[in-house]
């Protein structure tokens, strides 16, 4: 059949805790070619010294424990090994990590909200969210303020546990954020990740998923709104290495203004041993003005002949004049017609956000983006 046994997309990809194992990127590398390195404020080349300017506040569910620990804590780096230069830089430079643990069979009675507030300057961070077997929790990562920030977040979802995460990148206009979010799913574990990226000069977020046993189910949803001059990049990697796991990735973004740039990379690997995998990934971009650009690269690598389902789709387009005409022909003014169609484009995505206040906040943010 000629199926390869090693996924080509990971052949070049190395993982290491050591910063020196990663060369300073030049921008020619496949994984860096879309990212404006000159705007990373030195996060990629070792010139950005951390000054600890991002404060971390946790409002936790009573069932969860929250600890601030040092680098030596053994729970750090268990689920995720840095896979690129900035990730390794963050791993090498962070001083304190936040560890949230939801104990076995506990069902968190309210969301645990971790607020990252940038106070200017450069900072490195590390966060671990651990759900022990059969636990259930909702966790919100709320990023705001101004900062140059690189961090790694590990979600360890134990056997039969369910973790729902909303990560909101609501940074000030000048913020730079490079982040890895890795979810490691145990047997029959469920992960629902929802990413909303609105603010920041450059945001490069790399959500990834791995499975340690069969039966894992990951759902990754993303919504972004890119304004003039912004670079918002999402790089997804779902690595199916266990049989009978599922993944579903849906990212949608709207872009408006000169040099608004969205990048979406969707890598899904189905390894030889991952029989019965069911996966689908979708990215759609709505270009609202000239001068905006969306790069969308889905990449599905199937190394086994026994999949339950595997598909991907990617499309970028403009608002359809016929849609607007139809609504206007019923008396609806242009601006409102446009809003209705764009809301329709994001569709039920926003409704999937687990936390009601957050849903309203995201909706209000999107409305504000549309109005402005």
């Amino acid at each position: 059949m000629g199926l390869a046994t090693t996924p080509s997309s990971t052949l070049q990809r190395k993982s290491s805790y050591e910063l020196d194992d990663f060369a300073v990127p030049t921008g020619r590398e496949e994984e860096w070619r879309f990212t404006p390195l000159s705007r990373l404020k030195g996060l990629h080349d070792g010139t950005a010294a951390g000054s600890g300017a991002v404060s971390v506040a946790v409002d936790a569910a009573p069932e969860a424990t929250v600890e601030t620990v040092g680098r030596e804590d053994e729970r750090i780096g268990k689920a995720y090994v840095p896979a690129d230069r900035v990730s390794a830089q963050a791993y090498a430079a962070f001083e304190k990590a936040t560890v949230v643990t939801v104990p076995r069979e506990a069902v968190a009675s309210k969301p645990t909200v971790i607020t990252f507030t940038g106070g200017g300057g450069t900072a490195y961070g590390h966060t671990v969210v651990r759900l022990e077997p059969m636990a259930e929790a909702v966790v919100v990562l709320d990023h705001r303020g101004s900062a140059v920030y690189a961090d790694n977040v590990e979600f360890v979802v134990g056997d039969g546990a369910t973790l729902k995460v909303v990560s909101l990148q609501d940074w000030a206009d000048d913020a730079v954020h490079v982040s890895h979010h890795h979810a490691q799913l145990g047997k029959d574990a469920t992960f629902r990740g929802f990413v909303v990226t609105l603010g920041g000069d450059v945001v490069r977020l790399s959500p990834s998923v791995s499975y340690t046993a069969p039966g894992g189910d990951a759902d990754l949803t993303g919504l972004y709104f890119v304004d003039a001059g912004q670079h918002l990049e999402h790089r997804l990697l779902v690595d199916h290495s266990q049989p009978n796991c599922k993944s579903n990735v849906v990212y949608k973004g709207a872009l408006q203004g000169d040099d608004a740039h969205a990048v979406w990379i969707g890598d899904v690997i189905i390894r030889v041993e991952a029989e019965g995998t069911d996966t689908y990934e979708l990215n759609r971009n709505l270009l609202l003005t000239d001068g905006a650009r969306a790069d969308s690269v889905p990449n599905l690598e199937i190394l086994t002949g026994e999949v339950a389902g595997a598909g991907h789709a990617s499309a970028s387009g403009r608002l359809d004049d016929e849609h607007i005409f139809y609504l206007q022909a019923r008396g609806i003014p242009f601006d409102e017609a446009r809003r209705l169609v764009i809301r329709g484009f994001f569709g039920q995505l926003i409704e999937k956000i687990e936390v009601e206040e957050l849903r309203d906040r995201v909706m209000a943010k999107v409305e504000a983006e549309l109005a402005g």
């Binding site: 139809y326 206007q328 242009f334 209705l340």
Partner: protein, 248 residues
């Protein structure tokens, strides 16, 4: 008493002249049928009146109660009292029928309808057109059959209560039952107030349900013959050949 007056209208599509001097006056209380072969420019007339961006008016006027519609945006024309039931209603993903209808009614009336009243009107309108209540939650025209789309156009007609309605081949693609339901809707609309109807059709079939006061034969971008309902009977018997030959 509203009047739609089309005066010497010339329209081009992508620099190709399609309408070549259309004159037509529709008064409230009147129903005018425009009949003509495929490609004669009937939809072009409808879209041009409504203000579709693809159609360029190269000459003439369209007045609604003296106001030149051609000076208005698409939505302003609708709010001025014009309605176009489209031959091919557009599917709009992600926009629900109920949301859309509420926005449209709010825009046209200039104020939001009371929720309970609106729900009642909507239900009554849907019942009358045998539209399943579940349609309100569906995306606009998405996955609707041809007949469902046309019924939905007439639902909008009845809710928006325009002064002048242009109905572009609302009958085409309907089976006899659907044609009857849709025709009843048009007749309810006609009976409900002083409104003018411009009924564009290729076939005489719908004219047995919706009786026109005037019939205009359209060929090669202009009106080539006019008369009363008897003209439809002549077309039924003889077809369009005489006109297409004459204008070729």
């Amino acid at each position: 008493m509203s009047t739609l007056e089309i005066r010497d209208l010339h329209v081009a599509v992508e620099d190709k002249p399609i309408l070549r001097g259309v004159n037509l006056t529709v008064k409230a209380g009147e129903t005018h049928a425009i009949m003509g072969p495929n490609g004669s420019g009937k939809s072009t007339l409808a879209y041009a009146i409504a203000g579709h961006p693809k159609y360029t008016v190269t000459g003439g006027q369209v007045l609604l109660d003296g106001v030149d519609l051609l000076e208005l945006s698409v939505d302003e024309r609708a709010r001025a009292g014009l309605f176009l039931a489209m031959q091919y209603p557009v599917e709009v993903p992600g926009v629900s029928v109920s949301n859309f209808l509420r926005s449209a009614v709010t825009s046209v009336r200039g104020e939001a309808p009371k929720l309970r009243e609106f729900a009642k009107d909507l239900k009554a309108g849907m019942d009358a057109l045998s539209i399943d209540a579940a349609f309100a939650q569906r995306n606009l025209n998405e996955g609707f059959s041809g007949g469902e789309k046309k019924r939905h156009e007439i639902l909008q007609l009845e809710l928006l209560k325009p002064k002048i309605a242009v109905l572009d081949e609302t009958d085409s693609g309907l089976d006899v039952d659907a044609l009857r339901v849709v025709s009843e809707g048009i007749n309810r609309f006609r009976a409900a107030g002083e409104t003018g109807v411009l009924l564009i059709t290729h076939y005489t079939r719908i004219l047995r349900y919706v009786k026109p006061d005037f019939v205009h034969v359209f060929a090669a971008g202009r009106v080539v013959e006019e008369g009363g309902p008897e003209l439809a009977d002549k077309l039924e018997a003889e077809g369009y050949e005489a006109y297409t030959k004459a204008s070729a």
